[in-house]
Subunit: 346 residues, 2 copies
């Protein structure tokens, strides 16, 4: 992880640094009229479509730990996390801007790694880097990503459209990213102070992958469109199923029942949870950082949704007065709870 | 500055906090289709116009010191600073999103003060708060503001359009904000440890105003439009005249001559600089945070520019090979230098 060569940021100057970091970014979208190098990005929205904009910030020590988070992966992940908010509205991402706060301890080579990951994500998502800046921060690394996208107004899916009896759908097993984080944290503790630390990850590679390299679920949106399914409400799973479902229900003024045995868990999630004496369902409900999609569709769409092969139906929408509840196999009901704030660094 | 009542953020929960902070924000622009409360803001750009987007981040300890920076003023200033990038492209600001990183030491009342300042700026600029989030940070306060605006493509002014012999124009005296900062820093040092500190600001109120409450120069853009003047190139003065002029010249592939005796300095700037044994011209060239506009216009527009009564012509554009130079009253020439990076916390 430690780059061999170490160039001080100060040696390049502000112009030189931005040039170096952004020179490898080709522009892919005709809508990007002006990207890096002016006071603001200039974008030509497709005629008749709405623009969407979201900003996500990531703080060292809260959202990531550079002891074990490779910077290339971090660059990739922050773009996926920001774009995930656009996907959750059924929009097409088109541009990002990246604003960095860096302390003097970070060498240029580390920022190049970060930008390499950003470039990979931009490439996969066909998104343009359209601006941003790099500033001094007194403390750790801070990354703010603004993602811009577009969609025809009638295709935008809000959190607020869920209706009675709609099906509650998710796009993958949950809790794996959280267990990946717990594994990385455990190895960090165990190996602290050792000269040649050799972390033990065997058998849990999938969990690391889910935490370090989340997938943007463009494939799901495309598959739903092919099947003629427009979700009634959607949100991305960043805070955990429990908190995100509650947010969707709150915006839609409804309740929900989800069924414990229908929440998919990966084998590795269950295995590591057992090893660490944790409840894998709690990881799925409260772990967060899955960056999958949670959405609702009318009951009549059950077959079309199933045909995508990418979606699990885990419950249904109920009246607001009945709250958001998890139904256990014995028919018991447990009220869902949102995580507190400020969040634990976990 | 210390709020009397102190409510812990954790006591409200994340939903409650965002509701409390954003409830006082009316929507003013028909283009804001969806604001706070979903995964992303949704904006309908005016037909045929381009959208502009810029993000600025502000770090406690680098960009502001909460010992003397009132949070209401800070909220106002971060919006003006972000919007200033849009004004520098001759665009109409329409939405902002605000992403906060807050440590547990900050009470809810302090964030309410911050948002009161944000609301004042939104009101004055007729801009909508269209989204954002509040997260935990391990360290100090971090504020990221994304500003969105629009403009007909043909009216957008880039940094890159300056032509030979164009006039170099600025919109106010410079260096005052920097001297305001120096004054606040001096009083902080002098009064450190005193129980009842009484800072001495008499006679320097204008400098504090310029540092704590910069003006968005919408008036200048309107006046130029009334006179039929479209600048050939423009940038906002955030880093200091020297650095910003060099950036404009670099983008336009040209040089510039600016004349020392034409750079306007406020009386208070000169007086405090003298008192502190500083060079007021250096404050103007390198101080930064003026948030005024630096632009170029064709020579033939001199009269129209003068008629606005809001603009000083301080020099002209020269061939790229001649560099960016300051001409002293005795005819000497000094090469301008950009500030280094990372910037001093000053």
């Amino acid at each position: 992880m430690t780059p061999k060569k170490r160039t001080e940021i100060a040696s390049l100057g502000q112009f030189g640094l931005i040039d170096l970091l952004t020179k490898e970014f080709p522009l892919r979208n005709a809508s990007t009229l002006r990207a890096v190098g002016d006071d603001a990005a200039v974008i030509a929205p497709p005629a008749g479509e709405a623009m969407l904009c979201t900003t996500d910030s990531f703080y060292e020590g809260v959202d990531f730990d550079l002891t074990y988070f490779p910077l290339k992966h971090l660059g990739y992940k922050v773009v996926v996390a920001a774009v995930s908010d656009l996907l959750a509205m059924n929009a097409t991402p088109s541009q990002i801007t990246v604003s960095l706060g860096v302390s003097a301890k970070i060498p240029v080579e580390a920022l190049q790694d970060l930008y390499e990951g950003i470039a990979t994500a931009c490439d996969e998502l066909a998104v343009d880097l359209a601006g941003g800046d790099t500033r001094a921060s007194m403390t750790g690394l801070v990354i703010s990503v603004t993602a811009l996208g577009h969609a025809p107004e009638g295709r935008i899916v809000y959190r607020s459209g869920a209706q009675q009896n709609d099906l509650v759908c998710i796009t993958s097993n949950l809790g794996a990213a959280y267990m990946g984080l717990r594994l990385l944290e455990r190895e960090k503790r165990v190996l602290a102070g050792l000269d040649n630390p050799e972390p033990q990850f065997a058998g849990y590679e999938y969990l690391l992958e889910r935490y370090l390299r989340p997938r943007p679920r463009v494939d799901v949106l495309e598959a739903l469109q092919e099947e003629g399914v427009l979700p009634t409400a959607m949100i991305d799973l960043s805070d955990g199923l429990s908190s995100d479902l509650m947010q969707l229900c709150r915006a839609s003024k409804c309740g929900a029942r989800i069924y414990l045995e229908r929440i998919p868990l990966a084998k590795q999630t269950t295995a590591l949870a057992e090893e660490m004496h944790l409840d894998p369902v709690t990881a799925a409900l409260n772990g967060g950082e899955d960056y999958e999609l949670l959405f609702t569709v009318p009951l009549a769409m059950q077959e079309q949704v199933a045909r995508t092969g990418l979606v699990d139906i885990i419950g249904h929408i109920t009246p607001e007065s009945t709250g958001c509840r998890l139904v256990t196999p014995d028919g018991g009901e447990i009220a869902l709870k949102a995580q507190g704030f400020p969040q634990d660094p976990a």
